[in-house]
Symmetry: C2
Subunit: 197 residues, 2 copies
């Protein structure tokens, strides 16, 4: 039905996150039918990114320069660091465009199940930055899971030894949520963390 | 937050069928974090396909050779043609692996709304094939929409002038469907086309 190269490409595209064999086939057919307007420009762009992409030596962000544009920014407050699990979370925080400090990408979170220990994460780098950049506040923006909380507690203890103030993102009911769709854990937490009006 | 090249790539990926800005960002982050194992092999594969992809001069299929592997096959019955709207439908039919004839890709269907007239479709090519390849049967596998049916009726009239027998795919209730989830049009059609047991 089609050449081996096409089948290989479909298989490869189907392994990208969020895609399956059906959506991959659709994407590849789209690229094949629009070679000049879709396939070739995509190849150019991928090549350009592959040639220019760097991991920021300071925070771990992806950018075309290292230090990245956030770390190199003169207007951002280097005394406040936001610690995130990965670059996806860094970009999510940046989309809010509210945080004016800088970031530190851990590269994962502690996990007994997956055998992730502190040495696997970029924690030493974080502690060195705390001292070198005279950081005063660290905001832990880690996942609201058991592993995320364990990581936050571990980091909090290590950071407080260095005299920085540590906070985490607030937990509770997300905006626009219906109460009867929320899980019990979230409702319990939201109740026990209730705020006076 | 990230280089212009990365933003361009995300924008381009988000225009692929079935993707949006969120899924595109996820895919690009995956590619960036696995440059050696995902990004570079994908570029290689896309380039290989771009260099080798051809549109079959006979049926309109995409393949790395022209005539395509279906048209070039010695074991397939060239006297039976299946007419499809596009290559995606050709591949869908091939996945069933039941049809042993050859194909003809129309490149669309007639549409008053979109201004698609017979001259826009590969109908002359079909009629020439009928004569040249001494085709005896044509199966119209066009969409079960109003435009698809209009196209089927038009093609049927033109083909019968050439003395070939014409059929279309059966319509009715799809396999595994619950009756109370089916639309009324399908139920009406299934009732009026009922088959004796």
């Amino acid at each position: 039905m089609s050449g081996n190269e096409i089948e290989n490409l479909i298989k490869q595209v189907s392994k990208l996150p969020g895609l399956g064999s059906r959506s991959a086939r659709r994407i590849v057919l789209h690229l094949l039918s629009k070679k000049e307007n879709a396939l070739l420009p995509l190849i150019d762009n991928l090549q350009e990114v592959a040639a220019n992409i760097k991991t920021c030596e300071i925070c771990g962000n992806f950018d075309t320069s290292s230090p990245c544009s956030v770390c190199a920014s003169a207007v951002r407050d280097g005394k406040t660091l936001c610690v995130v699990q990965d670059v996806a979370d860094l970009w999510a925080m940046e989309r809010v465009a509210q945080f004016k400090g800088k970031y530190h990408v851990l590269g994962g979170i502690l996990s007994a199940l997956d055998g992730v220990v502190p040495e696997d994460l970029n924690i030493d780098g974080l502690l060195r930055r705390i001292v070198r950049e005279e950081v005063r506040e660290v905001i832990l923006a880690l996942p609201a899971t058991v592993d995320g909380q364990i990581t936050s507690h571990y980091l909090s203890a290590r950071l407080k030894e260095n005299g920085v103030s540590v906070s985490t993102l607030a937990q509770g009911i997300p905006m626009g949520a219906e109460l009867d769709y929320m899980d019990e854990g979230t409702l319990q937490l939201a109740l026990s963390s209730r705020k006076a009006l």
